[in-house]
Protein backbone atom coordinates (compact mmCIF):
# COMPACT_ATOMS: atom_id res chain seq x y z
CA UNK A 1 0.00 0.00 0.00
CA UNK A 2 1.05 3.53 -0.70
CA UNK A 3 2.00 5.18 2.57
CA UNK A 4 2.29 8.88 2.85
CA UNK A 5 5.15 9.95 4.94
CA UNK A 6 4.85 12.97 7.20
CA UNK A 7 7.53 14.84 5.32
CA UNK A 8 5.90 14.22 1.96
CA UNK A 9 2.54 15.27 3.34
CA UNK A 10 3.94 18.59 4.52
CA UNK A 11 5.48 19.17 1.07
CA UNK A 12 2.17 18.39 -0.60
CA UNK A 13 0.22 20.74 1.66
CA UNK A 14 2.76 23.53 1.22
CA UNK A 15 2.71 23.02 -2.57
CA UNK A 16 -1.08 23.22 -2.61
CA UNK A 17 -1.01 26.38 -0.51
CA UNK A 18 1.59 27.94 -2.79
CA UNK A 19 -0.56 27.10 -5.83
CA UNK A 20 -3.71 28.53 -4.21
CA UNK A 21 -1.87 31.72 -3.14
CA UNK A 22 -0.26 32.06 -6.56
CA UNK A 23 -3.61 31.59 -8.25
CA UNK A 24 -5.23 34.25 -6.11
CA UNK A 25 -2.31 36.60 -6.69
CA UNK A 26 -2.56 36.01 -10.44
CA UNK A 27 -6.30 36.85 -10.34
CA UNK A 28 -5.58 40.01 -8.43
CA UNK A 29 -2.89 41.03 -10.91
CA UNK A 30 -4.87 40.06 -14.00
CA UNK A 31 -6.98 43.21 -14.28
CA UNK A 32 -4.13 45.74 -13.91
CA UNK A 33 -2.05 43.67 -16.28
CA UNK A 34 -4.81 43.72 -18.86
CA UNK A 35 -5.22 47.47 -18.34
CA UNK A 36 -1.53 47.95 -18.94
CA UNK A 37 -1.73 45.92 -22.11
CA UNK A 38 -4.74 47.82 -23.36
CA UNK A 39 -2.97 50.72 -25.17
CA UNK A 40 -0.40 48.62 -27.00
CA UNK A 41 -3.04 46.04 -27.92
CA UNK A 42 -5.36 48.75 -29.21
CA UNK A 43 -2.53 50.24 -31.19
CA UNK A 44 -1.66 46.87 -32.64
CA UNK A 45 -5.29 46.16 -33.52
CA UNK A 46 -5.55 49.56 -35.18
CA UNK A 47 -2.41 48.86 -37.17
CA UNK A 48 -3.73 45.44 -38.10
CA UNK A 49 -7.04 46.95 -39.21
CA UNK A 50 -5.35 49.66 -41.24
CA UNK A 51 -3.02 47.09 -42.72
CA UNK A 52 -5.87 44.75 -43.64
CA UNK A 53 -7.71 47.81 -45.02
CA UNK A 54 -4.84 48.35 -47.47
CA UNK A 55 -4.27 44.67 -48.17
CA UNK A 56 -7.94 43.84 -48.68
CA UNK A 57 -8.77 47.21 -50.31
CA UNK A 58 -10.44 45.67 -53.33
CA UNK A 59 -12.45 43.16 -51.31
CA UNK A 60 -13.63 45.96 -48.99
CA UNK A 61 -14.53 48.20 -51.91
CA UNK A 62 -16.69 45.48 -53.47
CA UNK A 63 -18.28 44.73 -50.12
CA UNK A 64 -18.90 48.45 -49.56
CA UNK A 65 -20.65 48.75 -52.89
CA UNK A 66 -22.75 45.68 -52.15
CA UNK A 67 -23.71 47.06 -48.73
CA UNK A 68 -24.55 50.46 -50.19
CA UNK A 69 -26.91 48.80 -52.65
CA UNK A 70 -28.40 46.81 -49.80
CA UNK A 71 -28.89 50.00 -47.76
CA UNK A 72 -30.61 51.72 -50.71
CA UNK A 73 -32.86 48.71 -51.21
CA UNK A 74 -33.72 48.51 -47.51
CA UNK A 75 -34.34 52.26 -47.38
CA UNK A 76 -36.80 51.99 -50.27
CA UNK A 77 -38.43 49.01 -48.53
CA UNK A 78 -38.78 51.04 -45.31
CA UNK A 79 -40.33 53.92 -47.25
CA UNK A 80 -42.71 51.53 -48.97
CA UNK A 81 -43.65 49.91 -45.66
CA UNK A 82 -44.27 53.31 -44.04
CA UNK A 83 -46.45 54.33 -46.97
CA UNK A 84 -48.40 51.04 -46.82
CA UNK A 85 -48.78 51.34 -43.04
CA UNK A 86 -50.14 54.89 -43.37
CA UNK A 87 -52.52 53.82 -46.14
CA UNK A 88 -53.60 50.90 -44.00
CA UNK A 89 -54.44 53.23 -41.10
CA UNK A 90 -56.41 55.55 -43.38
CA UNK A 91 -58.33 52.72 -45.03
CA UNK A 92 -59.06 51.11 -41.65
CA UNK A 93 -60.50 54.39 -40.41
CA UNK A 94 -62.52 54.75 -43.59
CA UNK A 95 -63.78 51.17 -43.36
CA UNK A 96 -64.65 51.54 -39.70
CA UNK A 97 -66.51 54.77 -40.52
CA UNK A 98 -68.28 53.07 -43.44
CA UNK A 99 -69.41 50.25 -41.15
CA UNK A 100 -70.57 52.62 -38.42
CA UNK A 101 -72.33 55.13 -40.65
CA UNK A 102 -76.01 54.49 -41.48
CA UNK A 103 -75.52 55.82 -45.02
CA UNK A 104 -74.90 53.56 -47.99
CA UNK A 105 -71.62 54.63 -49.50
CA UNK A 106 -68.82 53.71 -51.85
CA UNK A 107 -65.12 54.36 -51.21
CA UNK A 108 -63.05 56.03 -53.93
CA UNK A 109 -59.45 57.06 -54.35
CA UNK A 110 -58.42 60.61 -55.34
CA UNK A 111 -56.52 60.52 -58.67
CA UNK A 112 -56.29 64.19 -59.56
CA UNK A 113 -56.82 67.73 -58.37
CA UNK A 114 -58.00 71.01 -59.78
CA UNK A 115 -55.52 72.38 -62.34
CA UNK A 116 -56.21 76.02 -61.43
CA UNK A 117 -56.43 78.07 -58.26
CA UNK A 118 -59.94 79.39 -58.85
CA UNK A 119 -61.75 76.18 -58.06
CA UNK A 120 -61.34 73.41 -55.53
CA UNK A 121 -61.98 70.11 -57.23
CA UNK A 122 -60.78 66.52 -56.90
CA UNK A 123 -61.08 63.70 -59.42
CA UNK A 124 -61.90 60.22 -58.07
CA UNK A 125 -61.47 56.79 -59.64
CA UNK A 126 -65.17 55.78 -59.48
CA UNK A 127 -67.94 56.85 -61.82
CA UNK A 128 -71.42 56.01 -63.08
CA UNK A 129 -70.28 52.42 -63.63
CA UNK A 130 -69.96 52.12 -59.83
CA UNK A 131 -73.29 53.85 -59.19
CA UNK A 132 -72.05 57.38 -58.63
CA UNK A 133 -74.37 60.11 -59.87
CA UNK A 134 -74.14 63.89 -60.07
CA UNK A 135 -75.24 65.60 -56.86
CA UNK A 136 -74.16 62.88 -54.43
CA UNK A 137 -72.37 63.96 -51.25
CA UNK A 138 -68.76 63.04 -50.60
CA UNK A 139 -67.27 62.68 -47.15
CA UNK A 140 -64.36 61.27 -45.19
CA UNK A 141 -64.45 59.73 -41.72
CA UNK A 142 -63.73 63.25 -40.36
CA UNK A 143 -66.69 64.98 -41.98
CA UNK A 144 -68.15 66.39 -45.17
CA UNK A 145 -65.80 66.83 -48.13
CA UNK A 146 -67.93 68.03 -51.05
CA UNK A 147 -70.37 67.08 -53.77
CA UNK A 148 -70.16 65.19 -57.04
CA UNK A 149 -70.56 67.75 -59.83
CA UNK A 150 -69.76 65.53 -62.79
CA UNK A 151 -69.71 61.77 -63.22
CA UNK A 152 -68.35 59.88 -66.20
CA UNK A 153 -68.16 56.11 -66.59
CA UNK A 154 -65.02 55.51 -64.49
CA UNK A 155 -64.20 58.91 -62.96
CA UNK A 156 -66.09 61.62 -61.14
CA UNK A 157 -65.41 65.22 -60.30
CA UNK A 158 -66.05 66.34 -56.73
CA UNK A 159 -66.34 70.00 -55.84
CA UNK A 160 -64.86 70.45 -52.37
CA UNK A 161 -66.59 72.51 -49.69
CA UNK A 162 -63.96 75.25 -49.88
CA UNK A 163 -64.95 76.03 -53.47
CA UNK A 164 -66.84 79.36 -53.50
CA UNK A 165 -69.46 77.89 -55.83
CA UNK A 166 -70.54 75.30 -53.27
CA UNK A 167 -72.94 76.07 -50.43
CA UNK A 168 -73.92 73.65 -47.68
CA UNK A 169 -76.95 74.21 -45.51
CA UNK A 170 -75.45 74.21 -42.02
CA UNK A 171 -76.51 74.40 -38.39
CA UNK A 172 -74.59 75.26 -35.22
CA UNK A 173 -74.85 72.12 -33.10
CA UNK A 174 -75.16 73.88 -29.71
CA UNK A 175 -77.53 76.77 -30.46
CA UNK A 176 -79.28 75.32 -33.58
CA UNK A 177 -78.57 78.53 -35.55
CA UNK A 178 -78.95 77.88 -39.25
CA UNK A 179 -76.87 79.35 -42.03
CA UNK A 180 -75.15 78.61 -45.30
CA UNK A 181 -71.55 77.38 -45.22
CA UNK A 182 -69.69 78.31 -48.40
CA UNK A 183 -66.10 78.08 -49.57
CA UNK A 184 -63.71 81.00 -49.88
CA UNK A 185 -60.87 79.30 -51.82
CA UNK A 186 -58.87 79.75 -48.64
CA UNK A 187 -58.37 77.22 -45.88
CA UNK A 188 -61.55 78.31 -44.00
CA UNK A 189 -65.24 78.32 -44.87
CA UNK A 190 -67.67 81.16 -44.29
CA UNK A 191 -71.11 80.62 -42.70
CA UNK A 192 -73.48 83.30 -43.91
CA UNK A 193 -77.06 84.47 -43.37
CA UNK A 194 -76.86 84.12 -39.60
CA UNK A 195 -79.30 86.57 -37.94
CA UNK A 196 -77.94 89.64 -36.18
CA UNK A 197 -77.02 88.67 -32.61
CA UNK A 198 -76.96 84.96 -33.43
CA UNK A 199 -75.93 82.69 -30.57
CA UNK A 200 -72.58 81.53 -31.87
CA UNK A 201 -69.19 81.44 -30.24
CA UNK A 202 -65.69 80.30 -31.01
CA UNK A 203 -65.30 76.53 -30.84
CA UNK A 204 -68.94 75.76 -31.70
CA UNK A 205 -69.37 72.71 -33.90
CA UNK A 206 -71.14 73.16 -37.23
CA UNK A 207 -72.93 70.25 -38.90
CA UNK A 208 -75.10 69.80 -41.97
CA UNK A 209 -78.71 70.79 -41.32
CA UNK A 210 -80.30 68.25 -43.63
CA UNK A 211 -82.37 70.96 -45.34
CA UNK A 212 -80.52 70.28 -48.53
CA UNK A 213 -81.39 66.83 -49.87
CA UNK A 214 -77.82 66.23 -51.00
CA UNK A 215 -76.23 66.12 -47.55
CA UNK A 216 -77.62 63.89 -44.82
CA UNK A 217 -78.32 65.64 -41.52
CA UNK A 218 -75.68 65.85 -38.81
CA UNK A 219 -72.46 65.39 -40.80
CA UNK A 220 -69.60 67.37 -39.29
CA UNK A 221 -68.54 70.43 -41.29
CA UNK A 222 -66.11 72.05 -38.89
CA UNK A 223 -65.69 74.37 -35.91
CA UNK A 224 -66.24 78.12 -35.67
CA UNK A 225 -63.00 80.05 -35.28
CA UNK A 226 -64.24 83.62 -35.66
CA UNK A 227 -67.44 85.61 -36.13
CA UNK A 228 -68.31 89.11 -37.29
CA UNK A 229 -70.93 91.37 -38.82
CA UNK A 230 -71.60 91.38 -42.54
CA UNK A 231 -70.78 94.60 -44.40
CA UNK A 232 -74.49 95.43 -44.65
CA UNK A 233 -74.80 95.16 -40.85
CA UNK A 234 -77.99 93.14 -41.21
CA UNK A 235 -76.57 89.70 -40.59
CA UNK A 236 -73.63 87.92 -39.00
CA UNK A 237 -71.05 85.62 -40.52
CA UNK A 238 -68.85 82.98 -38.95
CA UNK A 239 -65.56 81.59 -40.14
CA UNK A 240 -65.38 77.81 -39.97
CA UNK A 241 -62.27 75.65 -39.91
CA UNK A 242 -63.27 72.51 -41.88
CA UNK A 243 -63.00 69.20 -40.02
CA UNK A 244 -61.52 67.60 -43.12
CA UNK A 245 -58.06 68.67 -44.25
CA UNK A 246 -59.12 69.45 -47.80
CA UNK A 247 -55.61 69.91 -49.16
CA UNK A 248 -54.56 66.30 -48.65
CA UNK A 249 -57.61 64.09 -49.11
CA UNK A 250 -56.56 60.74 -50.57
CA UNK A 251 -59.74 58.69 -50.19
CA UNK A 252 -63.41 59.67 -49.97
CA UNK A 253 -66.75 58.02 -49.41
CA UNK A 254 -69.50 58.93 -51.85
CA UNK A 255 -72.83 58.72 -50.07
CA UNK A 256 -75.83 57.26 -51.85
CA UNK A 257 -79.05 59.22 -51.21
Amino acid sequence: MFKLEKKNLIILVVTCLVIVIAASIVTAFRAPFLNTLNPPLSLLTLMKREFSGYVFYRRNMIENERLKKQVDFLRSQVNLSTEIAQENVRLKELLSFKQKTPYRSIAARVIGRSPDSWSSVIIIDKGTHHGIRQGMAAMTYLGIAGRVVEASLFTSKIMLINDPNLGVSAIVQRSRQEGLAAGTLGSNLIMRYLPDGADIKEGDTVVTSGLNEVYPKGILIGTIIDAGKEFSGLSTYALIRPAVNLSNIEEVLVVFP
Partner: protein, 157 residues
Protein backbone atom coordinates in the same frame (compact mmCIF):
# COMPACT_ATOMS: atom_id res chain seq x y z
CA UNK B 1 -46.42 67.54 -88.74
CA UNK B 2 -44.39 65.45 -86.31
CA UNK B 3 -43.51 68.56 -84.30
CA UNK B 4 -47.19 69.38 -83.88
CA UNK B 5 -48.01 65.92 -82.53
CA UNK B 6 -45.03 66.11 -80.17
CA UNK B 7 -46.17 69.48 -78.89
CA UNK B 8 -49.72 68.15 -78.43
CA UNK B 9 -48.19 65.37 -76.32
CA UNK B 10 -46.20 67.95 -74.36
CA UNK B 11 -49.40 69.89 -73.60
CA UNK B 12 -51.09 66.69 -72.39
CA UNK B 13 -48.06 65.82 -70.25
CA UNK B 14 -47.93 69.33 -68.73
CA UNK B 15 -51.67 69.13 -68.02
CA UNK B 16 -51.26 65.74 -66.32
CA UNK B 17 -48.39 67.17 -64.24
CA UNK B 18 -50.58 70.10 -63.21
CA UNK B 19 -53.31 67.72 -62.04
CA UNK B 20 -51.03 65.50 -59.99
CA UNK B 21 -47.43 66.29 -59.08
CA UNK B 22 -47.71 70.06 -58.90
CA UNK B 23 -49.91 69.61 -55.85
CA UNK B 24 -46.70 69.02 -53.87
CA UNK B 25 -45.14 72.26 -55.12
CA UNK B 26 -47.89 74.64 -54.11
CA UNK B 27 -46.81 77.98 -52.69
CA UNK B 28 -49.48 79.75 -50.61
CA UNK B 29 -52.05 77.24 -51.99
CA UNK B 30 -51.15 78.31 -55.53
CA UNK B 31 -49.43 76.25 -58.20
CA UNK B 32 -47.88 77.31 -61.51
CA UNK B 33 -50.03 77.21 -64.64
CA UNK B 34 -48.04 75.00 -67.00
CA UNK B 35 -50.77 75.01 -69.65
CA UNK B 36 -50.63 78.79 -69.92
CA UNK B 37 -46.85 78.53 -70.42
CA UNK B 38 -47.58 76.00 -73.18
CA UNK B 39 -49.88 78.56 -74.84
CA UNK B 40 -47.10 81.19 -74.77
CA UNK B 41 -44.59 78.72 -76.21
CA UNK B 42 -47.04 77.59 -78.91
CA UNK B 43 -47.67 81.18 -80.00
CA UNK B 44 -43.95 81.95 -80.14
CA UNK B 45 -42.89 78.78 -81.93
CA UNK B 46 -45.75 77.91 -84.31
CA UNK B 47 -47.73 79.86 -86.88
CA UNK B 48 -50.92 81.53 -85.71
CA UNK B 49 -53.34 78.86 -86.93
CA UNK B 50 -51.51 76.01 -85.20
CA UNK B 51 -50.95 78.09 -82.05
CA UNK B 52 -54.68 78.77 -81.92
CA UNK B 53 -55.45 75.05 -82.16
CA UNK B 54 -52.95 74.31 -79.38
CA UNK B 55 -54.47 77.08 -77.23
CA UNK B 56 -57.97 75.67 -77.67
CA UNK B 57 -56.68 72.19 -76.81
CA UNK B 58 -54.85 73.46 -73.69
CA UNK B 59 -57.91 75.45 -72.59
CA UNK B 60 -60.20 72.50 -73.18
CA UNK B 61 -57.85 70.19 -71.23
CA UNK B 62 -57.93 72.58 -68.28
CA UNK B 63 -61.69 73.08 -68.45
CA UNK B 64 -62.22 69.32 -68.30
CA UNK B 65 -60.87 69.28 -64.74
CA UNK B 66 -62.17 72.52 -63.23
CA UNK B 67 -65.51 73.01 -61.59
CA UNK B 68 -67.24 75.63 -63.72
CA UNK B 69 -69.69 74.62 -66.40
CA UNK B 70 -68.56 77.48 -68.66
CA UNK B 71 -65.50 76.66 -70.78
CA UNK B 72 -63.70 79.77 -69.62
CA UNK B 73 -60.18 78.55 -70.38
CA UNK B 74 -61.20 77.29 -73.83
CA UNK B 75 -62.32 80.84 -74.57
CA UNK B 76 -59.53 82.75 -72.87
CA UNK B 77 -56.47 80.74 -73.95
CA UNK B 78 -56.98 81.50 -77.69
CA UNK B 79 -57.53 85.15 -76.74
CA UNK B 80 -54.11 85.29 -75.00
CA UNK B 81 -52.67 83.50 -78.01
CA UNK B 82 -54.05 86.23 -80.27
CA UNK B 83 -52.72 89.00 -78.00
CA UNK B 84 -49.22 87.46 -77.91
CA UNK B 85 -49.38 87.07 -81.68
CA UNK B 86 -50.15 90.80 -82.06
CA UNK B 87 -47.35 91.78 -79.66
CA UNK B 88 -44.81 89.56 -81.40
CA UNK B 89 -45.77 91.12 -84.72
CA UNK B 90 -45.17 94.60 -83.32
CA UNK B 91 -41.84 93.73 -81.67
CA UNK B 92 -39.49 90.91 -82.53
CA UNK B 93 -38.97 88.80 -79.42
CA UNK B 94 -36.05 86.46 -79.99
CA UNK B 95 -34.36 86.58 -76.59
CA UNK B 96 -35.61 83.86 -74.21
CA UNK B 97 -35.62 86.38 -71.37
CA UNK B 98 -38.19 88.54 -73.17
CA UNK B 99 -40.20 85.46 -74.11
CA UNK B 100 -40.30 84.48 -70.43
CA UNK B 101 -41.34 88.05 -69.58
CA UNK B 102 -44.56 87.48 -71.52
CA UNK B 103 -45.59 84.75 -69.06
CA UNK B 104 -46.39 86.93 -65.98
CA UNK B 105 -48.33 89.39 -68.17
CA UNK B 106 -50.48 86.60 -69.57
CA UNK B 107 -50.94 84.95 -66.14
CA UNK B 108 -51.98 88.22 -64.50
CA UNK B 109 -54.41 89.00 -67.34
CA UNK B 110 -55.84 85.47 -67.25
CA UNK B 111 -56.31 85.42 -63.48
CA UNK B 112 -57.76 88.93 -63.36
CA UNK B 113 -60.39 88.08 -65.97
CA UNK B 114 -61.12 84.65 -64.42
CA UNK B 115 -61.33 86.16 -60.94
CA UNK B 116 -63.73 88.90 -62.05
CA UNK B 117 -65.96 86.39 -63.80
CA UNK B 118 -66.02 84.10 -60.73
CA UNK B 119 -66.74 87.02 -58.37
CA UNK B 120 -69.43 88.36 -60.70
CA UNK B 121 -71.13 84.95 -60.48
CA UNK B 122 -71.58 85.57 -56.74
CA UNK B 123 -68.68 83.56 -55.33
CA UNK B 124 -67.40 84.68 -51.92
CA UNK B 125 -63.80 85.38 -52.88
CA UNK B 126 -62.12 88.02 -50.74
CA UNK B 127 -59.86 90.66 -52.27
CA UNK B 128 -56.90 89.16 -50.40
CA UNK B 129 -57.41 85.74 -51.95
CA UNK B 130 -58.00 87.36 -55.36
CA UNK B 131 -54.65 89.18 -55.11
CA UNK B 132 -52.87 86.15 -53.67
CA UNK B 133 -53.92 83.92 -56.56
CA UNK B 134 -53.22 86.57 -59.22
CA UNK B 135 -49.81 87.67 -57.98
CA UNK B 136 -48.40 84.46 -56.49
CA UNK B 137 -49.45 82.44 -59.54
CA UNK B 138 -47.77 84.98 -61.83
CA UNK B 139 -44.56 84.72 -59.79
CA UNK B 140 -44.44 80.91 -59.54
CA UNK B 141 -45.43 80.43 -63.18
CA UNK B 142 -42.71 82.85 -64.29
CA UNK B 143 -40.15 81.04 -62.11
CA UNK B 144 -41.08 77.68 -63.64
CA UNK B 145 -41.34 78.92 -67.25
CA UNK B 146 -37.58 78.95 -68.13
CA UNK B 147 -37.51 75.26 -67.25
CA UNK B 148 -40.51 74.52 -69.50
CA UNK B 149 -38.98 76.64 -72.30
CA UNK B 150 -35.78 74.60 -71.94
CA UNK B 151 -37.59 71.22 -71.82
CA UNK B 152 -39.72 71.94 -74.89
CA UNK B 153 -36.80 73.32 -76.92
CA UNK B 154 -35.74 69.97 -78.47
CA UNK B 155 -39.27 69.54 -79.86
CA UNK B 156 -38.69 72.43 -82.29
CA UNK B 157 -35.46 71.17 -83.87
Amino acid sequence: MKKKWIFLGIIAALGALQLTFLEYFKIFHVKPDLLLIAVVIATLKFDFRDALIFSVFAGFFKDCFVAGTLGLNTLLFPLWCYLIFIITHQFTIEEELFQVALVPIVVILHNTVTGFIIVSQGAAVTFGIFLRITIVEAVVTTLVSPLIFRITKPAFY
